[in-house]
Amino acid sequence: MKTNKSKKSHQIDENGMLLADPPKDIGNKEKFQRLNYLYQLSTWTTMTGIQPNQNGLARLYSKDLDLISKKTKTSISPNMKRSICKKCHRILIPTITSKTIIKNLSTSKSKKVNPKNDVLECHCQCGVIKRYPIGQNRNYKLNSEKDNTSTALDST
């Protein structure tokens, strides 16, 4: 058995990092599936809500989602987090629960506004504003979108 172990060659990259293959299976599958279900349920109740301005049930589901992800230390993608209000836990769907606007607060004396100061503002119904400085780097990509390997798990 010892000889088999010694035969395994470990690859080291230029930065002195020991490379490894991606795992075939992931732990905590059930927790991820639970979070996924809660998110979808929250979106569905937002869309088919009886009381359009309150979304009480939908907010409850997404609050549960947030709590469970923190308790179980399971990470959620930034794209998914961006679609949930941090204060009232509403699912942010444009024209239904949120409004989007681009603001440019350039204070230069010249009439031309600097496009680098463009800020995308997402206004939730509760009054909270999410701000994304899109003018700083228009080609900005999230780390999870840059270089990764993705696997889709079959749900049961």
């Binding site: 470990h10 080291i12 230029e14 930065n15 002195g16 990092m17 020991l18 490379l19 490894a20 991606p22 795992p23 992931i26 732990g27 905590n28 991820f32 599936q33 979070l35 996924n36 279900y37 998110y39 979808q40 979106t43 569905w44 869309m47 992800s69 399971t74 990470s75 959620i76 993608s77 794209n79 998914m80 961006r82 679609s83 769907i93 444009p94 024209t95 239904i96 409004k99 989007t100 606007i101 681009i102 496009p115 463009d118 995308l120 994304y132 899109i134 228009r138 080609n139 900005y140 780390n143 999870s144 979108e145 270089d147 990764n148 390997t149 993705s150 696997t151 889709a152 798990l153 749900s155």
Partner: protein, 217 residues
Amino acid sequence: MSNSLKALDKKIAKRRQVYKPLLDSPFIRESNYWPRIKDQKIVTHLLQNSILNKCKHFESSSIPRSEWPWDILFDFNEIISFLSSTDSHDKDDSAILFVCNKDQDIPAILLQQIPILCYLSQRKVSLIQLPRGSLQMFQEAITDRAIDNGLLLLRGNSKLDSSFVRQIEYSIEEDTNPLTIPWLESLKYKPSDIKLVKSSMPLQQNKVKKIKTPHRK
């Protein structure tokens, strides 16, 4: 192969690669929601010849925008307010929205909202995605203002020549599939999409230092 101390130092592993699971949104899959156009060349050609070249000509002859033979919107805020407005007398207005979603320099977070906005709008909006390089085409045609977001909305109201609208819509509708966002109406449970994000961690964890307690007599 250099035998410098730095090169030798790099051969010894200090960190190891790890994969961290990350739950991705089941809905944010942009490519699924953008309507596909079979022949983009025809649409681009039609847009350039019928609209953009004329816009360029109007601008060069300094004709004010209110006198143009159509209502055209470039600003993101104007387009959003047009799509989300609920005025009853304007409901019958149709609109054609051209988006340069393949070009660089257009923030992804801005483009994510466009298909949903068009789908939820009370107006009839035909969403057209343009091929790469269309943003430059816009910028060449409209020079008096910066077009950074790659959006062009053409209102199909009474101001516009009806035969002209028919010609554009006919050529577009033939090649365009209708916009569908299934999760906004009848939701079907989607399997969880878990990504593995590459990361690294040190090979040797820092040992917890034992706090020296003074001997008690």
